[in-house]
C-alpha cells in the first residue's frame, strides 16, 4: 500500500482567530436599543474584553477551515477503545434543537415544563430497564462525574450505617477516573491485579476486602474487553463484609439486553450516554453520566429528583439522605434528549442487536489481526480487544508509531497505552455501526503497517506524513506551557 487511500488532497492554512478581522467589524446583529440608556457607575466599568472584530464571513471561514483539520466518526472508522465511537444519528440533533427543549429555562415552574420533566422521568425508567437496576439519576455530567456521584452514594450509605470506611478496592485495569473519583470522597484506593486470564480472581478480593473497605469499583466488561466471569462471587465477598459494588458502565455497549447488572451483584453503576447511547462526543464533551442504583440506595441519589404524581411531573429536593446537588441544574438535558431518541429509535431488540454486532465486530477484528499483532489475552472478547506492540518491538516500532501511521491510511487510531497493565496496549473498539467492508479496509491497513514495520520501519516511525501537522513537540509544550495567545 504505497499510496494511502483517501488521505491526499488539499490542506488549508488558517491563522489564529485574532489574526483575522478589523476593529469595527461585526458578525452578529444586536436588537435595537428601545429603552433609554442608563449609564452604570464608571467606577464599576471595565474596558470590555479585547475580542477580535470579525464579519460573519470571517467567522464562518475561520471555523470551517479549522473543522477540516479534525477527524470525526462522520469522517471514518474511529476504533478508539473504551470510547464507543459509534455513529451519532442526525435526528438526535434535530430533537435536541427543538425550541421546547433548547429554549427551556431550568427553573420554570413544573406546570410549564412537563415535557422536559417527562422526558427525564421516562429516560430514567428506560435506563433502569436496560441495566436491571431500580432507580436512576441523570444529574451527573459525564462518566467521571457519575463515578463521583456513585462514590458519594456509597460514602453516604456507610455514613448512615454509622461507620465510615477508609479504603476502596480498584483493579489495576481500571480507568484513571476511578481512583481519582474515589479519592475525592477521601477513600484510599487499594489496587488489585487481575489474574492470568485477564479477569479478577475471587481469592485476590477475599485477601483485601475487610470491614474498613467501602467496596469495589469494577468495570465490566473490563478494560481488556473481557467479561469479569467471577463477578457474582466477588460481589458476594464484598457484600459479606458490608461493602458495596460499584460498576463502571463505560463498556455497557457489549451487554445491553444480555446482562442484568442487579443480578450480578452491582449496587451502583454509571453509564456514559455519550458512548453507549450514541450522543456525539463533541471533541471532548458534553457527555452525560447517569447513575443507576438498587432500591435501598435510592434515598442517597442526588437532588432534585423527578417525581411522577398521577400524570403530572415535578421536582423534589427534600430528600434528607441525599448526597446533595451535583451540578448547576438537572444535568446535561440536551444530551439526555439525544439518548432518549436513540433508545426510542432502537427499542429492546435493536439495543440487544447493537451489542451482539459490537461483540461480533470486535471478535472479527481480533481474529483477523492476531496473526500480525500480539494479542494480550487470546480469548473470546466482548466489544473490544487489546493488542500490543510486542511483535514489532524487534524492529523498534512502537504502538505510538503504528497509531500515527494509521492516520496516513485514513483511520483514527485505537486507544493506545491503556489499560496500563498491557505494555504498549493497542485497544480496538470497532462498535456495531461499522460495516464488514470498513473493518476489512482497516485490517488491510493494519496488516500493511505490520509489514512496513518489518521491511521499512522508518516509514512507520516517521508517520504521520499526510496530516495537517506531523508529530508535535509535547515535551516543550509541557515544559514551557503556552496556553494563551
Amino acid at each position: 500500500m504505497n499510496a494511502p487511500l483517501g488521505t491526499t488532497g488539499l490542506i488549508l492554512d488558517e491563522p489564529l482567530l485574532w489574526e483575522r478581522g478589523r476593529p469595527g467589524r461585526r458578525g452578529a446583529c444586536l436588537p435595537p436599543a428601545d429603552v433609554p440608556p442608563s449609564p452604570l457607575d464608571p467606577e464599576l466599568c471595565g474596558d470590555g474584553p479585547d475580542f477580535p472584530d470579525l464579519s460573519e464571513v470571517d467567522l464562518v471561514r475561520h471555523f470551517t477551515r479549522l473543522s477540516t483539520w479534525n477527524y470525526g466518526v462522520d469522517t471514518g472508522f474511529y476504533p478508539l477503545g473504551s470510547c464507543t465511537m459509534k455513529y451519532n444519528p442526525k435526528t438526535h440533533e434535530r430533537q435536541a434543537a427543538l425550541k421546547g427543549f433548547a429554549a427551556a429555562h431550568p427553573l420554570l415552574p413544573a406546570s410549564l415544563c412537563q415535557g422536559a420533566l417527562q422526558l427525564i422521568w421516562e429516560l430514567e425508567r428506560d435506563l433502569a430497564a436496560i441495566t436491571g437496576m431500580d432507580a436512576v439519576s441523570l444529574q451527573p455530567a459525564a462518566g467521571a462525574h457519575g463515578e463521583l456521584a456513585g462514590m458519594l452514594v456509597i460514602h453516604a450509605h456507610h455514613q448512615h450505617q454509622g461507620h465510615q470506611r477508609a479504603k476502596i478496592i480498584i483493579p489495576d485495569t481500571a480507568h484513571g477516573t476511578n481512583p481519582a473519583s474515589a479519592a475525592l470522597c477521601g477513600y484510599r484506593p487499594v489496587a488489585v491485579a487481575s489474574g492470568p486470564e485477564g479477569v479478577l480472581e475471587p481469592a485476590a478480593i477475599e485477601a483485601v476486602m475487610d470491614e474498613e473497605t467501602a467496596g469495589i469499583m469494577v468495570t465490566n466488561p473490563n478494560t481488556l474487553g473481557l467479561f469479569e466471569t467471577h463477578i457474582r462471587e466477588i460481589a458476594a465477598i464484598v457484600h459479606a463484609k458490608g461493602g458495596l459494588v460499584y460498576a463502571d458502565g463505560a463498556n455497557l455497549n457489549a451487554v445491553m439486553g444480555i446482562v442484568d447488572m442487579a443480578a450480578i451483584g452491582v449496587d451502583v453503576i454509571h453509564l456514559n450516554l455519550h458512548k453507549t447511547f450514541a450522543t456525539p462526543h463533541g471533541g471532548g464533551g458534553p457527555g452525560s453520566g447517569p447513575i443507576c442504583v438498587r432500591r435501598q440506595l435510592e434515598p442517597y441519589l442526588p437532588v432534585p429528583r423527578v417525581v411522577k404524581d398521577g400524570d403530572q411531573y415535578h421536582l423534589e429536593t427534600d430528600r434528607p439522605l441525599s448526597i446533595g446537588r451535583m451540578g448547576s441544574f438537572h444535568g446535561h438535558f440536551g444530551v439526555m434528549v439525544k439518548a432518549y431518541s436513540y433508545i426510542r429509535s432502537m427499542g429492546a431488540d435493536g439495543l440487544r442487536r447493537a451489542s451482539e454486532l459490537a461483540v461480533l465486530n470486535a471478535n472479527y477484528l481480533k481474529e483477523k489481526l492476531k496473526q500480525d499483532f500480539h494479542l494480550a489475552y487470546d480469548r473470546p472478547c466482548m466489544h473490544e480487544c487489546v493488542f500490543s506492540d510486542r511483535r514489532q518491538a524487534p524492529f523498534k516500532v512502537t504502538t505510538l508509531d503504528m497509531a500515527k501511521r494509521l492516520m496516513d491510511y485514513g483511520f483514527h487510531p485505537p486507544t493506545i497505552y491503556f489499560p496500563l497493565v498491557v505494555h504498549g496496549a493497542i485497544m480496538i473498539e470497532p462498535t456495531e455501526t461499522e460495516s464488514k467492508e470498513d473493518l476489512d479496509r482497516f485490517v488491510t491497513a493494519m496488516r500493511a503497517i505490520a509489514e512496513e514495520a518489518r521491511t521499512e520501519p522508518e516509514t512507520v516511525k516517521s508517520a504521520p506524513r499526510y496530516t495537517k501537522v506531523r508529530r508535535l513537540d509535547e515535551v516543550t509544550a509541557a515544559r514551557k506551557p503556552c496556553l494563551v495567545g
Binding site: 470525526g72 430533537q95 430497564a129 481519582a180 471532548g284 429492546a348 473470546p380 508535535l472
Partner: protein, 443 residues
C-alpha cells in the same frame, strides 16, 4: 435498523471467521447466572418520523418564547444565538470527534479550544483558563478544592449571595473529604458582608459571586483584600459571563481564581445543561489547575500546532493524586463560546452588555415607579430583586397560567425574603414585553 449495516450473509461470514455458530454464542464467556432471563422491556421502536412526532409533542409541553414571557435568569440566561454559531458548531468534524488525544488529526478542536482559552482569559482577566468544566457550579467547587490544595487550609468561606445551587454543589464536593464551608452573610445593600472574614481562622478561600445571586455588583477588590488579610485566596464566581462585557474583570480586581458559567456565550438554555464551566487563574497556579489545557507547540517540521498539555496533573497519569477526576469535559460548549465571542467581537460584546444593563435598569425603574419596593440599592447588571409583597403568590400563579413567569421567588433559599422575586431582562425582552410585565404585576 438503519444504524446497523450488517446483512444476514455478512453476519454468517463473520461468525465463520470468529468460529461461532450464532450471535448468541459470542456471549458464552458470560456465566448463565449473569444473563438476563427475559428480553428488555422498552417501548416499541419508533421510525424517524414517529420519533419526530413524539419529540414535537414533548417539546410542545414546555413554555418558551415567543408564546411565553419568561423573566428568569438565576444562572441561565436568554440571549440570541446567531445562526452562524449553530451552523459552525454543528459541523460533524467538530461534533463527532472524541477528546483530541491524537493531535495530528484533531487540530481543528485543539486550535479552537486554544482560542477559547485565550478569549476566556481576556474576559475573566486571568492569565490562563482551562479548556472547560461541566458547569458553573462544578467549576466553582473545583476552584475551592484548588484553593484548598494551594493553601493547605481546610476551610472555605462562601458568600450567601453565591447562587444557592452552586453552594449546594460545593457542599457535595467538599463535605465528604472533611472540608468545612462557612457562610458569609450579606449586607442591607445586597452585597456580601466581609466583616466576619478576619475572625475566621485557616481559610483557604473567600468565594464571592459578581454579579451576585441578587444581581448586585460586588466589590471584588474589597473581597480580595479581605481574603489576603487572612492568607486566603479570593475565588470570584459568576453566573452571567456577559456582565464582563461591561464590568471590570474579576482577576483585574484581585481574584486569584475565577470560576463561573459560560452558558450566556452562545449556548441554548436547554433546561439547564449542558452549560460551560469556566475556570481561570494566574500563571503561577497553572500546575494546580484541575481539568484539561491546550497548549501551543510546533511539529517536527517547525510548524505551529496544538496539543493537550500538562497532563501530569490529570487522572489518567496521576490517578488518585490527580488535581481532579474530570476526563470528558464540555469541550463542544467551549467551542460554541469561542464562536459566539468571535461573532460579537469586542465591540459587539460591549454593546450587548450595555444593552442588557439598560433593559434591566429600565425594568427596575419602571417597577419602582409603579410602587414596588426594590430592596437592594447596589448597582445591578441584568437582574435584580423586587419585593412584590407576600400576597403576590396568587398573582404570580395567575400570570404563570397566562405564560408569564414574573421572576423567581426567593423565599425557599432566603426565608427572610418572603415576597421577594428575582427578575431578569436581557436583550431579548422588548420594551413592550417589559411594559407588559410592569402592567400585569401592578394590577
Amino acid at each position: 435498523m438503519r444504524y446497523l449495516p450488517h446483512t444476514p450473509e455478512e453476519i454468517q461470514e463473520m461468525l465463520a471467521v470468529v468460529g461461532a455458530e450464532s450471535l448468541d454464542q459470542l456471549f458464552f464467556p458470560i456465566p448463565p447466572a449473569c444473563r438476563r432471563q427475559s428480553a428488555l422491556e422498552l417501548p416499541a421502536p419508533l421510525s424517524e418520523w414517529a420519533l419526530d412526532a413524539r419529540m414535537d409533542a414533548l417539546a410542545a409541553r414546555t413554555a418558551v418564547a415567543p408564546q411565553a414571557k419568561v423573566f428568569l435568569g438565576a444562572g441561565s440566561y436568554d440571549h440570541f444565538i446567531p445562526a452562524a454559531v449553530d451552523a459552525l458548531a454543528g459541523r460533524s468534524e467538530f461534533l463527532t470527534a472524541y477528546t483530541p488525544y491524537q493531535p495530528e488529526i484533531s487540530q481543528g478542536t485543539l486550535q479552537a479550544i486554544y482560542e477559547y482559552q485565550t478569549l476566556a482569559c481576556r474576559l475573566m482577566g486571568t492569565e490562563v483558563a482551562t479548556a472547560s468544566h461541566y458547569d458553573g457550579a462544578t467549576a466553582l467547587a473545583e476552584a475551592l478544592l484548588m484553593a484548598i490544595r494551594k493553601t493547605g487550609h481546610r476551610r472555605v468561606a462562601v458568600s450567601r449571595l453565591v447562587h444557592p445551587h452552586y453552594r449546594q454543589v460545593a457542599a457535595t464536593y467538599l463535605h465528604p473529604a472533611g472540608y468545612e464551608i462557612v457562610e458569609l452573610p450579606y449586607r442591607p445593600d445586597g452585597t456580601t458582608d466581609l466583616s466576619t472574614v478576619e475572625a475566621e481562622p485557616d481559610l483557604a478561600a473567600v468565594a464571592i459571586q459578581s454579579p451576585n445571586f441578587f444581581g448586585c455588583i460586588e466589590d471584588l477588590a474589597a473581597g480580595a483584600a479581605a481574603a489576603k488579610g487572612v492568607g486566603a485566596l479570593l475565588v470570584a464566581g459568576f453566573t452571567e459571563a456577559l456582565a464582563y462585557g461591561l464590568l471590570k474583570s474579576p482577576a483585574s480586581q484581585g481574584a486569584e481564581i475565577v470560576a463561573g458559567e459560560g452558558q450566556s456565550l452562545g449556548l441554548p438554555r436547554s433546561f439547564g445543561g449542558p452549560g460551560l464551566g469556566m475556570l481561570g487563574t494566574r500563571q503561577a497556579h497553572v500546575r494546580s489547575l484541575p481539568g484539561r489545557l491546550v497548549g501551543k507547540t510546533v511539529d517536527q517540521e517547525g510548524r505551529q500546532g496544538f496539543v493537550l498539555t500538562l497532563a501530569t496533573r490529570e487522572q489518567h497519569i496521576r490517578r488518585e493524586r490527580a488535581t481532579s477526576n474530570i476526563c470528558t469535559n464540555n469541550s463542544h460548549c467551549a467551542l460554541r463560546a469561542v464562536m459566539y465571542m468571535a461573532a460579537l467581537g469586542g465591540t459587539g460584546f460591549r454593546e450587548l452588555a450595555v444593552l442588557n444593563h439598560d433593559k434591566a435598569a429600565y425594568l427596575k425603574q419602571a417597577l419602582a415607579a409603579a410602587g414596588h419596593r426594590v430592596p437592594f440599592t447596589r448597582p445591578i447588571f441584568n437582574e435584580f430583586v423586587v419585593d412584590f409583597g407576600t400576597g403576590f403568590e396568587a398573582v404570580h400563579r395567575r400570570l404563570q397560567d397566562a405564560g408569564i413567569v414574573a421572576g423567581l421567588p426567593l423565599e425557599a433559599d432566603y426565608p427572610e425574603l418572603a415576597g421577594c422575586y428575582l427578575l431578569c431582562a436581557t436583550e431579548t425582552a422588548s420594551r413592550q414585553d417589559l411594559d407588559l410585565l410592569v402592567k400585569e404585576v401592578s394590577r
